[in-house]
């Protein structure tokens, strides 16, 4: 198939590399680069070096589509290591399906991407819904009978979280006293937090991504309230803790990749130091790990096809290989009718002094 | 039938020298429309020079060139030179020209529509001190009592004639050395026209102001002017001292409205034909 020469194998990815979402895209991109550098250093696949073409879509759907067409049609990459955001991935679905190119989807693992398995699309990670479900169950156990507040974004991300809370409600007693949706891009959360205060909320689900969570926690600090605040993984990066300041201490989080401060995380940073520049290492965060893990899974499959490097074989291997150990998250594996790695999640808490998260016991 | 006086020899006040001197100017719009072609004229210090000509002759274009505002309409002085007070201003910036005392009353009034009458006048004397400003304002208000009545009104709502008064008054506020007027009497009542011309006459005597006048009201203009140029189709076709021009039969017929050959003004009712085309084109 396309993208393979005697000396090279081309891979492609589409990420938001500019603008605010670049925070996640760039880190992710580093993870992919790291995985490639690691194999290349070990001689590549069947003597072929791996090369990555990264396209920027700035988180704009039409550009995602354009970039994909370019990667598949013009650059003729062999496989896709990643697709940006959830909405973008959904929009890209028909094109990828039609092309038949093996594609990993490590960001925005939405159910529609895997519930009806597509032969060539492999979703790595955990769904927002399930993550929220687990987080809510944990908080319900930890804070029985407390009043909850929920602030969510008015898009499919927020919707997925809402569903997770619903699922948890069915299993545990959760008393939501305040619930609201905000429009994406909102910067000022004063009125929302006032209502949180007014409603006497003791457990707050801050369902923003990055800036929104920062704003919410700072606002709570300003109002002098200190509910248990739970944030979600898209914003689980050190920069957020730093930007919030001391008020970030003790935030709850949930994730399916290991925290940087854990042993696995430390090992990962060591690995990164070996292949990435200093400046790049500074930007390593959880997205670097997801990028690394999913790419590594792809590479394992491709290695299995070294002589017969075709889409068919790669897809075959991806689904039959035993779960791949990546070191940064639970082993990743798929099955005949399973295109979703369904990685288990961990609940964790933030520490401002070290700008890190550690798992709760 | 008409004898063209050599355009380079306006010598009414030769002893004073030319304050404004245009030589062989060619002006082109949009790189394509030639509006002025090979025009030479000079305005001696202290004189009143009138420029007459039919619609589209290029009079306003010439004034725009003199004040450096041609480029705003994609026009360009492509050949020739314009000298003012011994300085080449053919391509100078408007501000620079204005600061040398050359002020234009532009065609179409061009008031600052959302400023009041008084603020418009203020802009005219933008570079003067507060005391001078007061003096000049009262001078303008004396000249146009109507404006005094309306001084706090937004100028955009004035009647056409009132606006013209503001435009002329605003230029006078600058106490120019050379005042260029593009059809100052446009839309004014006879009474006001008379007073404007009286003022112009007074200014040139009292303040030794030089005046370059573009006018359609030929009889008024010729009366006050020392020297007259006539333009047609972008060229100067006739020029000469005012008295001489007044006695020219063609000028009498085409610009003053006398019936051909005789000294009587003909009635507009008696005009039977339109087709009289450019006579002076060489």
């Amino acid at each position: 198939d396309q993208g393979v020469t005697d000396t090279e194998i081309l891979l492609g990815e589409v990420e938001p590399l500019t603008g605010p979402p670049g925070l996640l895209g760039v880190a992710h991109n580093l993870g992919v680069k790291l995985a490639l550098a690691e194999v290349n250093a070990a001689g590549g696949i069947g003597g072929r070096q791996l090369k990555l073409i990264a396209e920027d879509d700035g988180y704009v759907t039409s550009r995602t589509i354009q970039s994909l067409r370019k990667l598949i049609g013009v650059d003729k990459v062999f496989a896709l290591t990643s697709l940006s955001g959830s909405g973008q991935a959904l929009a890209a679905l028909p094109i990828i399906k039609q092309a038949g190119i093996p594609a990993m989807v490590p960001i925005g693992p939405l159910p529609p991407l895997y519930e009806q398995p597509n032969d060539n699309i492999f979703v790595v990670g955990q769904s927002y819904t399930e993550g929220m479900h687990q987080l809510a169950l944990y908080l319900a156990k930890e804070f029985p009978g407390k009043k909850w507040g929920v602030i969510l974004q008015d898009d499919d991300y927020g919707k997925a979280l809402a569903e997770g809370i619903e699922q948890a409600k069915a299993e545990a007693e959760i008393n939501v006293v305040f619930e609201t949706k905000y429009a994406r891009g909102q910067k000022d959360f004063a009125s929302e937090m006032l209502r949180v205060k007014d409603a006497g909320v003791e457990v707050l689900i801050a369902g923003g991504i990055i800036s929104e969570n920062i704003a919410m926690v700072k606002e709570a600090e300003k109002l002098g309230i200190s509910p248990a605040i739970a944030t979600f993984w898209p914003g689980r990066v050190p920069e957020v803790l730093k930007a919030i300041g001391p008020a970030s201490d003790g935030l709850y989080g949930v994730d399916y990749v290991a925290p940087i401060q854990s042993d696995a995380g430390k090992a990962f940073v060591e690995l990164a130091k070996k292949y990435l520049s200093e400046e790049e290492v500074a930007r390593v965060n959880r997205y670097t790990m997801t990028g690394y893990a999913s790419t590594k899974t792809l590479i394992e499959a491709m290695k299995g096809c070294a002589d017969d490097l075709t889409w068919k074989c790669t897809i075959e291997k991806l689904q039959t290989n035993p779960p791949v150990e990546t070191g940064v998250m639970a082993p990743i594996g798929f099955g005949a009718d399973n295109r979703f790695s369904n990685s288990p999640v961990t609940i964790m808490r933030a520490h401002y002094d070290t700008l890190s998260y550690t798992p709760v016991e | 039938m008409m004898q063209t006086v050599s355009p380079s020899a306006p010598d009414v006040r030769a002893e004073l020298g030319a304050l404004l001197e245009i030589r062989n100017a060619q002006i082109i719009y949009d790189n394509a429309v030639e509006a002025v072609r090979d025009v030479s004229l000079s305005v001696p210090e202290g004189a009143v020079v009138a420029l007459l000509g039919s619609n589209g002759a290029g009079k306003s274009t010439l004034l725009k060139a003199v004040t450096g505002t041609l480029h705003l309409e994609e026009g360009e002085l492509t050949k020739g030179s314009i000298r003012y007070a011994e300085e080449d201003i053919g391509h100078a910036r408007t501000e620079r020209i204005v600061s040398q005392g050359l002020i234009l009353v532009p065609e179409g009034r061009r008031l600052f529509a959302n400023l009041t009458v008084e603020e418009n006048l203020t802009m005219g004397a933008y570079r003067k001190t507060a005391a001078e400003m007061r003096r000049l304002k009262s001078m303008v208000f004396d000249l146009f009592p109507r404006l005094h009545e309306r001084r706090a009104q937004i100028s955009g709502y004035l009647s056409g004639g009132e606006q013209q008064m503001v435009a002329v008054g605003r230029a006078l506020m600058a106490e120019p050395r050379l005042l260029a007027l593009d059809e100052p009497s446009l839309g004014l009542a006879p009474l006001i026209i008379d007073s404007i011309y009286q003022t112009i006459d007074r200014m040139r005597h009292e303040l030794k102001m030089t005046i370059f006048l573009v006018e359609q009201n030929a009889s008024q203009a010729m009366e006050i002017a020392d020297y007259v140029y006539i333009m047609e189709n972008g060229r100067v076709v006739l020029d000469g001292p005012a008295e001489k021009m007044r006695s020219n039969l063609d000028v009498q017929e085409y610009y003053l409205g006398f019936s051909a050959g005789g000294g009587e003004r003909k009635s507009f009712r008696d005009i039977k034909h339109y087709k009289r085309r450019k006579r002076w084109l060489s």
Binding site: D56, T61, Q66, R69, K70, V74, A91, D155, K159 | N31
Partner: protein, 348 residues
């Protein structure tokens, strides 16, 4: 050297073409459009398709902003409505695509009447803001009525089959957009030379005088809104099909700014300008990417993650430089060129 053609009848004045030469050029243009799929690859073709769709949208905005002088920052709202009208009728309700397209024009056109009403009182940027507001409100409503619109999850759309002909491949879909593009051009040209087009221009240049000439400002401003929204709505539907997925995210606010930019760069009020502007603005990122790729792998690695920012920088710079050199836009450039051509060798 051609300097104009002598015309003997009124009909000759009204016709769109006035010479064989012109007709030959048009024929060449058509052949290029038809032949494009054979020369362009997958990506190039999708770029062309995108240009076609964008050009339709730009021509639509031109009716409103270029001709009638009503600045709108809200035409994305009508794209969204068009796209949803199409997606809902064809995908959710299973109507035939032709009906879907029709509704993709009619629904925005009707909605635009609501947005257009303020235009009877407002001018310039004041109107621009109310149109911007309508864009936000439409987005809000789309998310609110998720029973119909599927909210933020959006609706998938398939390539259409019109009158038994399936526009399912990239090349076929390109022809569909090219066809729609040509129809739009024709419709706009016809409008422009009709009493309606003249009335719109009259309103832009001098609304009071237009009224004295018997033009009902209310009706015609609303006509402008409706015609514009109809065209923009069709563009929205095509864009939805192009993306194969309709969500509000697919139509960000920046699109409205970009559309305005296309008209300015092309030359406000001109149909050809809208098309040239589209080619320029849609093509520019490709050109900057290409220039960047010429820098070679070495430079690319050094700049690594900055590459995209540098592209952005380049993009902005090119726009500024272009306007500095050619403030009247591409149409200005074209007219200058034409003048040189017809007047040569005598300059004036």
């Amino acid at each position: 050297m051609r300097s104009g053609y002598y015309k003997e009848t009124i009909v000759e004045h009204i016709n769109l073409t006035d010479s064989t030469l012109q007709r030959v050029w048009i024929a060449i243009g058509l052949i290029v459009v038809v032949a494009a799929p054979f020369y362009f690859d997958f990506y190039g073709l999708s770029l062309l398709t995108l240009m076609m769709i964008t050009a339709i949208g730009a021509m639509g905005l031109n009716v409103l902003t270029g001709w009638t002088g009503l600045i709108s920052l809200g035409q994305t709202a009508f794209m969204v409505l068009g796209a949803y009208a199409y997606a809902i009728t064809t995908e959710s309700w299973g109507w035939p695509p032709l009906a879907g397209f029709l509704l993709a024009g009619i629904v925005p056109a009707l909605a635009s009447v609501l947005v257009g009403v303020p235009s009877l009182r407002l001018t310039g940027l004041y109107l621009a803001i109310t149109t911007l507001a309508s864009a936000f409100i439409v987005n809000h409503l789309v998310l609110e009525f998720d029973g119909l619109t599927n909210g933020s999850s959006g609706i998938f759309v398939n390539r259409p089959t019109v009158l038994g002909f399936a526009f399912d491949s990239d090349a076929r879909f390109y022809y569909l957009t090219a066809g729609a593009g040509l129809l739009t051009i024709l419709a706009c040209l016809n409008l422009r030379r009709s009493r309606v087009g003249r009335a719109l221009i009259a309103i832009r240049d001098n609304d009071n005088a237009a009224r004295v000439m018997g033009i009902d400002l209310r009706t015609y401003k609303l006509y402008a809104f409706m015609a514009s929204s109809f065209i923009v709505g069709i563009a929205g539907a095509l864009y939805g099909i192009f993306l194969s997925f309709v969500t509000v995210d697919g139509f960000p606010f920046l699109l409205a700014i970009e559309a305005l930019a296309i008209l300015i760069v092309g030359g406000m009020g001109s149909i050809a300008g809208a098309i040239l502007g589209t080619i320029f603005m849609v093509g520019l990122p490709e050109v900057t990417s290409f220039v960047f790729s010429l820098l070679g792998d070495g430079a690319r690695d050094v700049l690594s993650t900055s590459a995209h920012e540098i592209k952005g920088l380049l993009y902005g710079l090119v726009i500024i430089l272009f306007l500095k050199l050619q403030p009247h836009g591409l149409m200005g450039l074209w007219q200058d060129a034409k003048r040189v051509w017809t007047l040569w060798p005598l300059k004036y």
